[in-house]
Structure formats: C-alpha cells, structure tokens
C-alpha cells in the first residue's frame, strides 16, 4: 500500500540517503533515529555518499500488488561506507552478476506507480560499482 502523503514526508530519506549522526557518540543511522544506543537524543543531519558493499542478496519472483508486475527483481542488504546497513533493490545487474562483498553505489530510479494516472514513486536503488 503506497500513499502520496507518506511518500512526500519521506522524500529526504528516499531521494538522497539523508541519515543522522549522534552528536554524542558520532554513530551514524539511516533512516533517522529517535534514541541512540548511547542514550543521547541529539542528532544532526548526515548525508550519506551512497557507496557500500553487498552483505547478502536475492531475486524475488512473487510480490505485492505494487511490485507484482516488476518481478523478478533483486534485493540486497548493503553495508554503507558510513556504517549503517540498508535493504535496497539492485538494478542494472542480474542475480549472476551479484556477489557477497561486491562494491555498489546508489542511483536514482523508479520504484512503482499508483496505476495509470497516480503518483510514480521514485527512490534510490543500487548498482554494482565495477570501478572500485
């Protein structure tokens, strides 16, 4: 279930990997966090560069209404350079081109749409970074 209002509220997170950094212990979180593991509630905004490596990956063959026309698609758990781990879709690569430990970088892509005349939901996906 996708909502245009929810998407508008989360565009900072979804369009540009904007996380937060704890002002007390410097730990970086993505997406935002309310209470740090160190106990602090003071965070500053932190833009993440969108590079990391694959921890695990899969290819999904059955999905929800929003994604059922997109299958199969690849998902990956990524460890970002700044520390946080995220779950994302991979694109521009087949399952056979993915491996654990592979460097990846973020790209801006279409996720799904509310039918023919509804909102198109964009966000970040990741691609193999063959230059690293």
């Amino acid at each position: 279930m996708m909502s245009p209002i929810e998407h508008w509220r989360l565009t900072q997170n979804r369009y540009q990997l904007e996380g937060v950094q704890c002002e007390s212990c410097a730990k970086v979180y993505y997406p935002q966090k309310f209470l740090c593991a160190c106990g602090s509630q003071k965070f500053s905004s932190k833009k993440l560069v969108g590079r990391g490596k694959i921890l695990s990956f899969t290819e999904v063959f059955g999905s929800s209404r929003a994604f059922k026309n997109m299958v199969p698609y690849c998902l990956a758990l990524i460890e970002l350079e700044e520390g946080p781990t995220i779950l994302t879709q991979m694109t521009d690569a087949t399952l056979q081109e993915l491996s654990v430990g592979q460097p990846v970088r973020s790209v801006f892509r279409r996720y799904c749409a509310d039918g023919q005349d509804g909102l198109i939901y964009y966000g970040l996906k990741f691609v193999p970074d063959f230059n690293r």
């Binding site: 979804r14 921890l55 781990t85």
Partner: protein
C-alpha cells in the same frame, strides 16, 4: 510458574473456501471447550490472536467476535504480534490468570488467508516488516528470509540439499498428521525443482498460506485439579524483541530475540535444552528452523543443518522437531499458528498422537516468531509426574 492447559483443539489447516473467519474460529473454540469439558459460561476472559483480518477480511474487533461465538459478555481482546500473535495471546491469558482476576481463560487464534489473491496476502504479510523502509523497496517475507539464507550459507558452508532436508522431514511428519495442510511426503529433488520464490528459496522451502484456527483453555492449577483436567502445564512463558527492520541488525544469521526468550525460559523452567523431548519451532522457511534450533540452544551455531541431514531432528530422533509437520506441512494460518503449536505439544504430552507419537514425551517447547525475528515468544510445557 505453573499454568494448566485443560483444553486444546485446532481445526484442520488448509484452503477452506467454504469456511469464513468466524466459522473457523467457532469450530476451534467450541472443540476446545468440549475437550476441557466446560460450558461457554465457565470461561472468564478471552484473548483472540489474529494478524490479517483487518486487511484480508475487512474485519477487526475480533475480541467481540470471539465472545459473540460463545454468546457470553466477558472481557475479550484481540492480540496482534504478526506471526507470533498466537503465542502473545497465550502470554496475555497467562497474565490474566497470574494476576488473580481469572481462574479460567480461553486463548484462540484464527487466520483466513485464501479469500484474496496471492499478491494481497503477500502484501498483508509484508506489513510485519518495517514497511516504510523494507516494504517500500519490495521486500517480501520470502525475500527477507532469502537474504538471511544466502548470508547463512555463505558463513557456514551448508548446501542447498541440506536445507531442503528440513522440508522433507517436516512433510514426512505432516503426512502422519490428519490436521495438516499437506499430507504428502516430498523428496530433496522435489524441493530443489519446485519454482523459485526468492533465490535461493524455492516454493517447498516456504510455509503455505493457510486458513485455520486453534484454541486452548488455560486455568490455575487448582481449578484444573477441581475439574479433574490436570496433566499438562505451561512451566515457562517468555518473550523478547529485536529491531523491526532486518537491515538495522548487526547479525543476520542468528536472532537475538530467540536467544533471549530461550535463555529466560530455560532458567524459569529450571531445565536445560537436553531435557526437552520435542519442540515445535517457527519454520516459516526451511532456514528459519535451522536458525531457531541454534538460537534455542539445541545445536551449536552452524551445525543444525548438518544435524538435520544426519536425521537427528526426525520423529523420535535425538530431538523431535515439528512432529506436527511444522508451519511447512501442518500449515501457517498466521494468528492460529502459535496456539496450534501448543495444541500439538499438549496432545503429544497426553500421548494422543497415534502414529506420530513421540515416545515417552515429558517436556515440550514451542517457539513462535513474529516478523523477521522481531517478536519472539517461547513456551515450555511439562507433563505432570
């Protein structure tokens, strides 16, 4: 702790197109009352577990439905904790008894999942993930467990064949259970050749979408003795949580919540894992059974798949795992599953399981997981000496 289980029943699990949410719930609740030898008016409070009815049947307020079925006006509350809803409802029932406000309570669970197409059922189950982040990118439940599976295979070097043996074993048990969704044995080749759901997990690595309901009646030990229904007791009930999103963890191949709940449960029951005769674990996916057996303390990390391949977890092996057929073969009507596990343990401890009876069963453990290891509950049951 000591809470008596005086009644237990579950419907057959399966695709019941001719039965509604209410039909299934009524069937389980009335059969459990019958098993306990009680009348509806004897029940003092109800806790009913359900996850998806709001999304799949357009029906919430199941507390009132559960009481309405019995025609009584007592407190009745719906409990939700994704796939662990049933186990959490049991904990709510235990709390009501331990507080002293009730002597006998009903704990029921129901899920009606086959009225809608598969994409909507998938979507409803996806709401047990962190929907804003993981749901948005299209993370299905099999997809998340596939990520865990690949990480585990990479870390511990198990083979796809070893993993398939979990489903083979659970189908072997399910074939012996008249209430199982699937009563057919399968081979490793069947698992490997079934359609890919989320690489490397195939269809036969995954529990099915099932309809079904389960119900138990709990009471104080004194009430159970009074009506002559004592014999099986819950001796530990614990619960723990982890991050809602899989990606916010440091570890993907072990679940902290299971480890916490298990350690506390063994401490409360004053037993060790080797004292347990049978266990019902939350095998929503073949990989989930392997990880659960390690997190619960039955096998060392990285060894449960090897133990499974050696036949240690088969009926009347070293440790009987999922004698019911598990979620894989018995079926997974989400809200009912955690309670259905207890129904299996009770019937095993009473010695009522016929061809799938665990020899000399005295202690059983149930492990239920909601979301991807985000909510976990453990119960230990013992037969009275």
């Amino acid at each position: 702790m000591n809470i008596a289980v005086i009644g237990a029943s579950c419907t057959p699990y399966g695709e019941w197109w001719d039965k509604s949410l209410r039909d299934l719930l009524a069937q389980a609740q009335l059969a459990a009352l019958d098993d306990a030898g009680l009348a509806a008016k004897d029940i003092q409070e109800i806790f009913v577990a359900n996850m998806c009815a709001g999304q799949l049947s357009g029906q919430v307020n199941l507390g009132a439905m559960a009481a309405d079925i019995l025609g009584i006006h007592i407190p009745s509350t719906r409990i939700e904790g994704a796939c662990a809803s049933g186990a959490l409802a049991i904990r709510a029932g235990i709390a009501a008894l331990e507080s002293g406000r009730a002597e006998v309570v009903m704990v029921s669970g129901v899920e009606k999942m086959t009225d809608v197409d598969h994409a909507l059922a998938t979507e409803s189950l996806m709401s047990a993930t962190d929907y804003e982040t993981e749901g948005f990118v299209g993370a299905t439940f099999p997809g998340l467990f596939a990520l865990v599976t690949r990480a585990y295979m990479h870390q511990f070097g198990i083979t796809r064949e070893q993993l398939a043996l979990v489903s083979v074993k659970n189908h072997k048990h399910g074939a012996l259970n008249p209430r199982a969704h699937f009563r057919k044995e399968i081979s490793v080749t069947d698992v490997l050749k079934s359609s890919m759901v989320a690489d490397p997990l195939t269809l036969l690595d995954c529990s099915p979408v099932s309809d079904g309901a389960a119900c138990i009646i709990l009471s104080t030990p004194a009430f159970a003795k009074e009506i002559g229904k004592h014999g099986v007791n819950i001796i530990a009930s614990t619960q723990a949580s982890d991050t809602l999103a899989l990606s916010h963890r440091k570890e993907f191949t072990q679940f902290y919540a299971t480890q916490q709940a298990a350690q506390q449960a063994f401490m409360i029951a004053s037993i060790k894992p080797s004292d347990v005769d049978l266990v019902e674990v939350h095998d929503a996916f073949s990989m989930a059974e392997i990880i659960a057996l390690e997190d619960l303390g039955f096998f060392e990390r990285g060894t449960a798949a090897f133990a499974t391949a050696e036949g240690k977890t088969v009926l009347n092996g070293q440790l009987t795992v999922n004698s019911s057929g598990g979620l894989k073969a018995k079926g997974h009507p989400v809200g009912a599953s955690g309670i259905g596990q207890i129904v299996e343990l009770v019937q095993q401890l009473r010695g009522q399981c016929g061809v799938r009876q665990v020899n000399n069963a005295k202690i059983g453990l149930a492990h239920s997981m909601g979301g991807l290891g985000a909510t976990v509950a453990v119960h230990i049951l013992a037969k009275e000496a």
